[in-house]
Subunit: 231 residues, 2 copies
Amino acid sequence: MNSAVSFQPMLESRPIRDIAYEVLKHGIISGEIPAGERIVETVYAARLHISRTPLREALRKLERDGLIEYVARRGVVVRAFHLEDVNEIYTIRNALEMLTLPAIIEKATPEDIASLRVKLHGMDALMRKGDIEALSPLTRAFHWQLTSLCRQQRILRAIEGQDEFITRFSAIAIRQEKHLWEAHQEHYQLVDYVEKRDLEGFRQLMQKHIEDSKRNCLEAVRERREGLKQE
Amino acid sequence: MNSAVSFQPMLESRPIRDIAYEVLKHGIISGEIPAGERIVETVYAARLHISRTPLREALRKLERDGLIEYVARRGVVVRAFHLEDVNEIYTIRNALEMLTLPAIIEKATPEDIASLRVKLHGMDALMRKGDIEALSPLTRAFHWQLTSLCRQQRILRAIEGQDEFITRFSAIAIRQEKHLWEAHQEHYQLVDYVEKRDLEGFRQLMQKHIEDSKRNCLEAVRERREGLKQE
DNA sequence: TGTACTATTCTTGTATACAAAGTGCAAACA
DNA sequence: TGTTTGCACTTTGTATACAAGAATAGTACA
């Protein structure tokens, strides 16, 4: 039996609304669906080849995420995404991330640490090839796994809510090889700090790491804005 | 013309899904709909005298709030609400609330401060009567207005997401008149600090205020758990 | 030429209908 | 007696239908 085939049914059984949700989310964050655009249900339902019902359920989730704005009897409009937002998001994320650090240090098992290192080693080859496209989701996965070690479900949920926005920008931003290598080195160091249960070192490096990420992200937004102006 | 009547159309024009959302949310938080309960769509649609469509949209929002859990093809189940959750929520809320303080101090106008004082004076009479039932939403409104002065939309949204849970518990918890008076005095002091642009004093008092609120809330949860055990 | 009113069209809000997946029970068979 | 298979029932997932409100365009009148 082919294992790939056995996975297929699970993937297909995902509700359409969830797929619609992610497609729209990606579209909004990537800028494909521009800010200010009115999402007319029938139009988008037709475009996605689905009916209005699951589309509307996806919209309700996006509404809750703050990506779209609902106006009574007028439907939804894509919210603008400003530098101000990036600042706020990073401020929030930073504050929340800091809350998880003691719990991570406390709860991380040797198996967790080994697993994180496996992930990083897996990225080494791609780093050398400079395959940023493939690297970006792995980096994200690494960070998420690290943060998840705190096992504080609500904080994680809150971080996740903020993080989605940023990740794609960061993916664009981390083009400079210099930053790429620096970040990769820091990932190893972060794991080392966890292993040594060195909260203070962990905290400082994480703070720097997030700070760098914020800078990259702000640059990416600025660049995109310049790009849009020229069109 | 009666002003209450003129509000009616606005209230009536609110989508049913929003009403359903709030009814369910209240039901879950108050414990009326117990944790672990499976929400069968047809049952609840009938109970609320609505169709499944708006109910499902309400469920998608609750899902995003983390109040219910979705299992593929099995529908949704009400999530449990533990002491652990209260701790986490307060940790998050505290961290986020602290982020708003500098902006509040910076951006508050004399009009804002006057408006806050009007609210507090309006509460004085109820305080003397000891009408806690009426006081609770006003207290909540005061706090929300104060925090909103930061004008950081995303942080506010994040706080709002956490806060909903707590408010109702606090409403139960703040029964002791002692705490009530103490809190009311502190509200006046908070406004004074804002007026004086005294960030450090503001920060310290706010921290204490949240700390007290947390203690109250934990007590309320413990009491409710005891109450449930005896049934 | 401009304004006001009406009719049409567009779009959302809600209900209902139908399809498909899952669950549980009962009967048949080992 | 235990296990398996099949069938009926329950419940979710999605599509479609209909109602009502909002916007817009066109016409009539000043």
